[in-house]
Structure formats: structure tokens, C-alpha cells
Symmetry: C2
Subunit: 222 residues, 2 copies
DNA sequence: TAATGTTTAAAACAGATGTTTATAGCGACT
DNA sequence: AGTCGCTATAAACATCTGTTTTAAACATTA
């Protein structure tokens, strides 16, 4: 079974290098040489570098969406039409996001990749993710809407993305932050502990009072 | 005054292209051709592409740190040794961050660049920024510490970065989010309004209750 | 005017990039 | 045995990269 071996070895190596240096900064030769695989193997098995990148994401996101849908099914069944509390929804999402990479001990890599997907993907990746995985988020957003009936739609939309930003930004830039934290406090922070710290902040952010409708004191911006 | 014109034309073009596509995806030929400047001019004036990138950041960050230090001076003088309230500190920082790009109507570009600095800078840029502008953040952090005496040091450290993540992530990925928001709500969001929305969320996050010390229900993570 | 230092211009450089091709190896089935 | 489909290999492809070099144009100063 040499072919499967080659494919997974390419994926395993690619995700690590992508997470470390980014997409453009990682050449196919970097990947294939480190994976001990022929250069042409990437184009043979995946077609192009773009498709490789998408495959790297799919290997995480496909199991995630499957799990997440299942978890939401279970949640809806348990609450029998009643409104699912916000904390329960957030908790469920967090659990599903963590489970998949946890099985491969690659949470750090996965988070870095998520961060890259937002910042480095001006084109194909953003489209790919939106096309393939947008529906899960839509379903989740609808449930959050029921859980926060007092929040105006637009406000909730933005707050969800604020929270997404907090989590992805933190966990994807974790290495750099951890370095600073260690040299400041001598304390080594685990991802698990970081999530414990994130939880009350995220919940408080979602439940924050509504902004005042008028605002000055800030300069105009183009 | 042809030389100044060339230099600023390079910087103006470079920052836009960097913000749009990232550093590695923007070639010097892209920059110089769009700026209607000779290719060799970049290496002549800046020495290298790396230095160009740093110069692009310096053009924002130098005025920012100057302003921010001055604003903090003024704040300390006004409060005469008394503790400066947290909201005042956050407000001041926000104002300073916004003022510089506001003068050039380039807030969007600046925020994108900040996002890139976090996610794309594995090497020289992160070092450059930390070296040149780390002291302002240290000063700010010390003031925030006085403003939040009940927060453990580590907790405050992380929450500051959580909030930084929220803001940078949101404003740097603004275009993509704005597209989604518009197609969902038909509402066009200005940066100014986004900041109005961000404020209560950030404050609530900083003031969130402390996390419980033990935690289960989440899978282990490497 | 002549000389000097600075900026632009065009071409060339060596190296790296993603992708393709042509060839060989291998296992399976008729 | 022989053929077919799939995979691995090595070499070559054209293109793009950042950087240098050479020469010309320019402005400034003596």
C-alpha cells in the first residue's frame, strides 16, 4: 500500500510546514524532500499546490463538520424544541473543534492553519472553506440566535465573529504568546488551560451590554 | 524632489499590495510596475525587500508610538498619580491607533498589515516590531495593571492579548466579514461603527469573572 | 564649465518556483 | 506470458523571484 503511504506522508509533512511558515513560503520541494517523496507526487496525487492546501484543510474540517452536526443533532434532541443555552452551544463547538486534532496530537498545527486561512487566504481557500463548510456555521448561528433573543441580528453576527477572532487569534499565535508569557511569568501554559481562561471572556463578550447608539471621541476613518 | 516622490510612491504602493495579498505573494515587480518606478529603485532606496516591509510598518508605527507615549503622559499628568480607569486606557489606545491611518484614509490597510504582522511574520518582522515598539506596550501594560488590581497578573496578560486578538482579527479581516454581513443584512458597516460595537465586548471581556480553577469536559490537547 | 554625487533606466544574473513529460517499476487479471 | 492500470522516479520546462550590474540622465556644487 505504497500509494496511501505517500499521500498521507505528503499531507502530514505539508500541514506542519504550512503551519510553521505559511503557504507561499513553503515550496513543494520543501514538502517532498522532508516527506522523502518524489517531487512530482504532489501534482500526481493532488493535481496542484492549491488542491494540496485544500486537502490539508479537508482532512481536519470534514471530520469536524460531521462531528459538529452530530453533536448539534444530539443537543436538539436532548432539548426537545426548547431553547439550547448559549454556554451549551459554545461548549459543544469548542469540544468538536478540539476533538479532531486531539486524536492526532496536532491541535497546535490545526489552530495555526485556521489562523492562516483567515489571514493568508485572499482567494481560493476562503472560497473553498465557505463553500464546503459554510452550512454548519449557518446552522450553528441559527441556534445561537434562539439562545440570544435579546440581541439584534447584526449585533449577534458581529459578536460571534469577535469571539471567533479571539479564539483563533489566540490559539494560532500561541507559540509567540507563550514565549512572552513564559519569559514574563515563568509559567508554561497548556492549550487546555488557555481554553479555560478563554471561556469566561467569550461568554462575557457575548453577553455584554448593547453599545450606545451614538459615538464621538474617535476620529473618522476611511 | 524626485527622490522623495519615488520613495513615497514605493511605500504607498507596497502597503496596499502587501495588505491585499501578503508579503510573499507580492513581488517587487508588482510594486514597482504599479508604482511606475524602476525595479532597481527598491533595492537602491531600501536595500532589500525585508527592509521595505519594515519601512512600511515604521511609517505607521513611529508616529503611533510617539502619539501614544504623549497621550499616556497627558493621561498620567491628568490623574496625578491616581489610578487611570481601564476604559480610559483602552479608549486612549484606540484613539491613537486610529489617528495615524485616519490622516491618510488608510485604516483598512493598516489593520490588514497588523494582522499580517501577527500571522505571516515568523521571523524578521516580529523581531523588528518587538525591538522597536515593545516598550510602549510594556508601559501600557503596567498602567492596565494598576487599573485592574483584582486580576492576577497572568490572567490580565492573557486577557489583554485576547482583546488584541479580537480587534486585530476583526478589523484586519474586515473586507471578508463585511461582504458576508452585507449579503446577510444588507447593511454596510463602517469601521467607526464596528469600533462602537467592539467597545462593550472588549470591556466586558476584560471584566469577566475569573475562570474556575478546575476543568473537565474538554478533550486533552497536545 | 567641469566635476561630483545622486537617481533612473534597462538588462542580466543566479536561483527557486510550480508543473509537465517521458520512463521505469510494480501488481493484478486474462 | 502478456497486457493493463497505477505509482514512483528523474529530468526538463517555462516562468518568476530578489538582487546586481552597467550605463545614462540629472542636479548640485565648486
Amino acid at each position: 500500500m505504497a500509494q496511501t503511504d505517500t499521500v498521507t506522508r505528503i499531507l502530514d509533512t505539508a500541514e506542519v510546514l504550512f503551519a510553521e511558515r505559511g503557504f507561499a513560503e513553503t515550496s513543494l520541494r520543501n514538502i517532498t524532500s522532508k516527506a522523502k517523496v518524489n517531487l512530482a507526487a504532489v501534482n500526481y496525487h493532488f493535481g496542484s499546490k492549491k488542491s494540496l492546501i485544500q486537502a490539508v484543510f479537508a482532512r481536519y474540517l470534514d471530520p469536524f463538520t460531521e462531528r459538529f452536526h452530530a453533536a448539534l443533532d444530539e443537543l436538539e434532541a436532548r432539548y426537545q424544541g426548547e431553547v439550547i443555552p448559549l454556554e451549551e452551544l459554545l461548549e459543544t463547538m469548542a469540544r468538536c473543534v478540539l476533538e479532531v486534532p486531539a486524536e492526532r496530537n496536532s491541535l497546535k498545527v490545526f489552530m495555526k492553519l485556521l489562523g492562516l486561512a483567515y489571514s493568508q487566504a485572499q482567494g481560493h481557500l476562503r472560497r473553498y472553506i465557505q463553500e464546503h463548510y459554510g452550512s454548519v456555521f449557518t446552522r450553528f448561528a441559527a441556534l445561537v440566535r434562539q439562545a440570544t433573543p435579546d440581541l439584534p441580528d447584526a449585533e449577534r453576527f458581529w459578536r460571534l465573529h469577535f469571539m471567533l477572532g479571539t479564539v483563533i487569534f489566540t490559539l494560532s499565535g500561541l507559540d509567540a504568546l507563550r514565549d512572552i508569557a513564559e519569559q514574563d511569568y515563568g509559567e508554561h501554559v497548556s492549550v487546555r488551560e488557555l481554553i479555560r481562561r478563554l471561556r469566561p471572556v467569550v461568554v462575557a463578550g457575548m453577553n455584554a451590554p448593547l453599545p450606545q447608539s451614538t459615538d464621538d471621541a474617535l476620529p473618522a476613518a476611511g
